[in-house]
Amino acid sequence: MDPRQRLARHIVDLPRSGIREFFDIVSTRQGVVSLAIGEPDFDTPWHIREAAMFSLEQGATHYTGNAGLLSLRRAIADYVKANFGGDYDPASEVLVTVGASEGLDCALRALLNPGDEVLYHEPCFVSYAPEIAMAHGVPVPVETHPDDGFRLSVEALEAKVTPRTKALIVNFPNNPTGAVLDRAEVEAIADFAIRHDLIVCSDEIYAELTWGGRKHVSFASIPALRDRLVLLHGYSKAWAMTGFRMAYVCAPKWMMDTILKIHQYAIMCASTASQHAALEAMRKPAEDMAPMLRAYERRRNFLSAAFADAGIPMHTPAGAFYAFPDIRRFGLTSREFAVRLLDAENVAVVPGTAFGACGEGFVRCSYATGMEQLKLAAERIARFVNTL
């Protein structure tokens, strides 16, 4: 008997992450120019790192309250109010988590009964469907398309909603497509959720990363959604703090009590030193982000122009730090394109199919990479597509 039969079926049956598979291929090679990295190339601003060290010096080596330091939750509530437009009580509606993925995991486990369906849009971050399945839910993908810039339409949602649908996961600005929603679209999706009595889990981890004068529209800015919204945000992207694993959940008290229960039993509390770093990060967020945001936007412009010159069609990403060029004209699958590009030019991009079946025909190129690497990659990709 296969001993794995003893393991939890719903976990064993989870597919292996497409990113993980490609990682294994890339890892065998030396000197790769990688546009496959989904985290900032910047180190965390020094004053934030320094604050974490100071907290350790001061003996902040103990547990905090389950939901996190109250001072941090207060700062989060203020930040969310000022930047997202949502009003949350720091004492009962804010939870500090170990990354936004933990927040989503806790929220889904709190929400779902076995067999409940959850809508999410593809192409998307690799963890959504597995996290739904881990919570005994049924993941229901909704496709988005290049023709409308990978935005999420209510028509597409209506086609997939059923009486068993419990929740909807949305992620804008989007990984991997760079798509952003405008206010009318956010309102339409909110109406859809209210009409079908759904909970909305909005992963807004890239909120600050919007380009071309676009401003992020948060689902938290829709008052009618407040009672059915789980807002996920964190420090990884905008503050370049991935390794601190600092994020948070904002949700109405009726949900938060139950979400907190899971976090409390599974995690106890987020790392105390990281929480002190996050508290420092709340002191002058605009100043910390400004140089990084400027650099990302310039790289995004550079990459868009470089792909246009190379004859690679692409919708211009409005947010996050990903370009999602259309490679269908070259007659290769996403995976073939990525593998052959790696072979020929030692440049790594992620096949679009790692983010869902409808990512076929696209590859994800992260521009969270220095200009020198980006120039090199753009030059090599142009040379590569010329050979196809």
Partner: protein, 160 residues
């Protein structure tokens, strides 16, 4: 556009007009014209490398010198400051608030040369009241650039 352009050049003076044009979404000709204009107006005063002199095998000593000056009617500190600035040894000169008036960065072949410059040239200028000389021992950061070589990129080559 000018502010953005200067920000890019402050970061990397070698960035090509073609790349800058792509970064800013304008034509390369426009970037070239802007740079030429900034040079003409004296906003861009030159193009230099940032060098970690500690790693260059030649003997140079750099001193930071605080200078107290008697201001003059109608010229203030300018006449003395400009006169001091003209010495080849003076690499940088600033008018300061606080306990002294001018701050100079002076480089010469050796300690003796700096000492001679201070005693023979600087102190004897009419209007210079006093000087305090400090020698630089090691450079950790200049022009916003850390002199220690950056660590290798330790990020995973592929990640979500």
């Amino acid at each position: 556009m000018v502010e953005e352009l200067l920000d890019i050049l402050r970061n990397n003076a070698k960035e090509s007009p073609e790349t800058i044009a792509r970064m800013l979404g304008v034509a390369p000709g426009e970037v070239e014209a802007s740079i030429a204009k900034l040079e003409r107006e004296g906003v861009i005063r030159g193009w230099q490398a940032i060098i970690n002199e500690d790693l260059v095998p030649h003997e140079t000593v750099t001193a930071v010198i605080e200078v107290r000056v008697t201001p003059e009617r109608e010229g203030g500190f300018n006449r003395v400051a400009e006169r001091v600035s003209k010495f080849r040894e003076v690499k940088a000169a600033y008018l300061m608030s606080g306990a002294y008036d001018l701050l100079l960065f002076v480089s010469a072949d050796n300690l003796l040369s700096v000492a001679r410059f201070v005693s023979e040239k600087l102190s004897t200028i009419h209007g210079v009241l006093s000087t305090a000389t400090h020698f630089q021992l090691k450079t950790y950061k200049q022009n916003g650039v850390l002199m220690a070589k950056p660590a290798e990129d330790e990020r995973l080559p592929v990640s979500p």
